[in-house]
Symmetry: C2
């Protein structure tokens, strides 16, 4: 699976959050990180080039800080320039049909403000409807948004968790399912193991075996349940 | 009441709809018509100048064609540049507090597509949440949006009605109430009367008198109902 992260941030070079997220994914081969400021000329995008770029990926992620309840203007300009009707929705066969679209958004205010009765009054799900509508129009799968709120106040442990969740959002086929997440952890740890010294490698090996047998048991259990259900149906 | 119409349309000079709407309001003294393309420099706006402009109006209307389920990028840039947090929401006393905000949006597709199960899948009310959220944050009153769908296919009679409804949306204190609308029609006809020749003027006078007495009767009726309600409460 190939993933594209399209980043738009009016203060990109000064953003601690963007610097952290960039670092989080820099070693992943199948993820490309593109900053919109670097590919625009006078606030314009090369339509053909960008349409070709988008076509190459399976998962397309828009990453931006929430600016007045939607993406910054430059990201909207990208949509206006690149998403022609023919490209997105030509006779039910748009060029992005079947691909995944996801939103990664950063908030300066706490997430609890984003609900009815909260200071912002509207939920992230409500505010992202225009993006959901584009995905719907292009017959793309709209992923659950990835929301990062108040990065500046996060503890180291919270940042560690963010790193893992973020990597999973970028690379995990099915980042929201428990068994898929467990499988993904095992792969990540196996990769990590190779970079360790022998003593630690052995310990890590034991840990991986434990998780693997745990995963296999869960898988067997699931298989048996499915079998019982099937017998019931017959 | 002073009204500002902020217009953003990437094809402004070629838009028949914008040309028609501009014509509709050109004679109204208390309405100002500002095209964003004409006040930007390299896609940037003068923050202080625009904040000062907005402060002068009671009703602020954003007018744009729906581009990927929200405003064109230039209008978003206006928001990003001009709507600083201090300006909109400074200690519960933002500069636009108590003013009205409205959206005038034009659709190329029929309005019936904009609903659950329709081709676009989402309603205009859902898609405009980000604007409603800005109004809420700035303690502005958010007006019912004014939606114009498929102007190109409108008959002359439909365009006549659009002209009247549009002028009402721009200038009528309470454009959505029946008695207020009737009062507004009487004013409009009185203005028109002065420009007619004597013969027509007399006919128009009779019509205005009729509407006026009709309005007075409604007003009296409302007054009596209020009185009865009040007596019931005591």
């Amino acid at each position: 699976m190939k993933t594209l992260v399209l980043v738009s941030h009016p203060e990109y070079d000064n953003s601690m959050t963007e610097a952290f997220l960039k670092q989080c994914q820099s070693d992943i081969e199948n993820v490309d990180w593109v900053v919109l400021d670097n590919i625009q000329t006078d606030f314009n995008f090369d339509k053909e080039q960008e349409q070709q770029r988008l076509s190459q990926y399976d998962r397309i992620l828009f990453q931006f800080p929430m600016y007045w309840y939607s993406a910054p203007a430059l990201m909207k300009k990208y949509e206006d320039d690149v998403f022609t009707k023919n490209f997105i929705a030509f006779e039910q066969e748009g060029a992005l049909k079947g691909k995944e679209m996801g939103i990664i958004t950063t908030l300066g205010d706490p997430i609890k403000d984003y609900q009815v009765g909260g200071r912002e009054g509207f939920s992230i799900s409500e505010l992202l409807k225009p993006y959901q509508a584009i995905a719907q129009r292009g017959q793309m799968e709209f992923l659950k948004p990835f929301v990062i709120s108040q990065f500046a106040y996060m503890t180291d442990a919270q940042k560690q968790k963010l790193l893992i969740d973020y990597r999973s959002y970028l690379t995990n086929d099915n980042f929201d399912s428990f068994t898929s997440l467990q499988k993904w952890y095992i792969e990540q740890l196996s990769d990590l193991k190779d970079s360790l010294n022998d003593d630690k490698k052995e310990k890590m090996g034991i840990l991986i075996d434990y998780l693997q047998s745990n995963y296999d048991q869960l898988d067997e259990l699931k298989w048996e349940i499915d079998l019982i259900k099937k017998e019931d149906d017959e």
